[in-house]
Symmetry: C2
Subunit: 284 residues, 2 copies
């Protein structure tokens, strides 16, 4: 039996498009609705079997008992305001934004007749857009669910089951805790990779043919679409700034050890980094 009668996805890029593909393939709902602000994305969405495509967000959410907001983070508030008149009483509303505390504040514009609980499936990629969407995008990926504590247990449980149906592994914590975790595991690495890429590109010695897999891997995420990331970094700035300060501190310590020829210190720092990095793989 499907969990929901009708699922509406508002904003159909990589994540929103993949939610529709995964949810329809795995029958998480009986019917599906989608809307994108982009005409081109709406045209592409029409090729998704079983998805009704709408010209307005308010029309797309009508009758849906699950509404997934998958717009960029800095558009969530205006999107929630826009769809409010179309929302069915009792609907469960979630989002897929990479920050959760600011989105929780945004959600205060919603009426009491609906339940909002934030989600964050960690399935982004530097390859964005609906053309990159796929039904197995969430398989094995962590999806945070950040209930504020006042929601009904049934709502949280339905949302948890939804993401599990889509293949994700759910993890529950507060919005604040989520933001601190993803700052250090995702936002700070993104900003660091961008700073490294800038320094490399600015160097007069930089020779593109000498760029090996090491440099390519270390900077891969810096190829991500900047507007998406600007909103994320600014919406989570206090945690991101703290993390970047820590990166700077470690970079200065390593650079000074190299500069002074302190072999033991350089070895100790690189060893600690190696052990930490290897533990990421052994945890898989």
């Amino acid at each position: 039996m499907s969990q929901f009668n009708r699922i509406a996805v508002i904003g159909t890029g990589l994540i929103g498009g993949s939610v529709l593909l995964a949810a329809s393939k795995r029958k998480a709902g009986l019917s599906f609705a989608g809307w994108s602000h982009s005409k081109q994305s709406r045209e592409h969405l029409k090729t998704f079997a079983g998805v009704e495509v709408f010209e307005s967000a308010i029309a797309a959410v009508q009758g849906a008992d699950l509404v997934v907001i998958a717009t960029p983070v800095d558009r969530i508030k205006e999107t929630l305001i826009a769809i409010t008149p179309g929302l069915k009483a009792g609907a469960l509303v979630t989002d897929v934004g990479s920050v959760k505390e600011s989105v929780l504040n945004d959600a205060s514009v919603l009426p009491n007749t609906v339940t909002f609980i934030g989600s964050h499936p960690m399935a982004g990629s530097e390859k964005a857009g609906i053309t990159q969407a796929k039904s197995n995008l969430f398989d094995g990926k962590v999806c945070f669910i950040t209930a504020a504590g006042k929601e009904s247990a049934a709502g949280v449980s339905r949302l948890r089951d939804f993401w599990k149906t889509l293949g994700a592994v759910t993890s529950e914590c507060s919005a604040k805790q989520h933001d601190a975790i993803v700052a250090i595991t995702s936002h700070v690495p993104h900003a660091s990779a961008a700073a490294l890429m800038l320094a490399v590109a600015q160097s007069p010695e930089f020779t593109i043919t000498a760029a090996g897999t090491g440099l390519r891997d270390a900077t891969r995420i810096a190829a991500g679409e900047e507007n998406l990331w600007v909103s994320i970094l600014l919406a989570n700035s206090s945690h991101v700034v703290a993390g970047l300060n820590a990166v700077e501190k470690n970079l200065v310590e390593l650079r000074e050890a190299i500069q002074s020829g302190n072999k033991e210190k350089v070895a100790a720092l690189l060893k600690a980094a190696r052990i930490a990095r290897q533990s990421l793989d052994s945890s898989r």
Copy 2:
């Protein structure tokens, strides 16, 4: 016709082992000799068809017209001194070290009866050791050849052909130029990835299950064996320190823009990084 009568490889880890596998498979020589300081590596080397394994470096180089030194960078000088009495007059000697100016200095210990020209195949990996060696390791990889200018054109030409036979794309420049190039394309990314990994691991908020492919890619090279990297970073310290200063500068600029909520500035920096990163892929 094989280029060399006998090829000796001194130091048989990932690179040295792969040189033997690639050279014997592609018949770059008529016979092959190998030596490692590690008994375990010598035992593994005995499983390589057509390679004679020696108990001493001096015995391994006897009769070789090409000698490839593939020890860690900080062992090259002592290795050259050790093999000198065994070197055949007219032999071509090269190394595979990741820095070239310090190695060029080390090579001044060699007698005038042999020709030394530095090489650097950019084919390292965080997976080190002879068990990772493979005959196609150099396929399509850049191999620097850093002649000092006083070598015979025939020697440079033979070395160039050797690496091409092994599948590499050769690139010729001075040792100093090489060191500046690899500082920014390889050594600085390594140190930056290590600093990022340390900051992440030190964070009380770090949750290993939330580590996605972005963090894993950005820090992958930090899993490399530290002793190898300590010698590289210290042997190339002036170029590495300059590059790390540039990373710090960019990191501070980005962090301050985030801290002050300067959306345009953050967007401009991330956009420049995205364009630079995308150009790495379009160059492939």
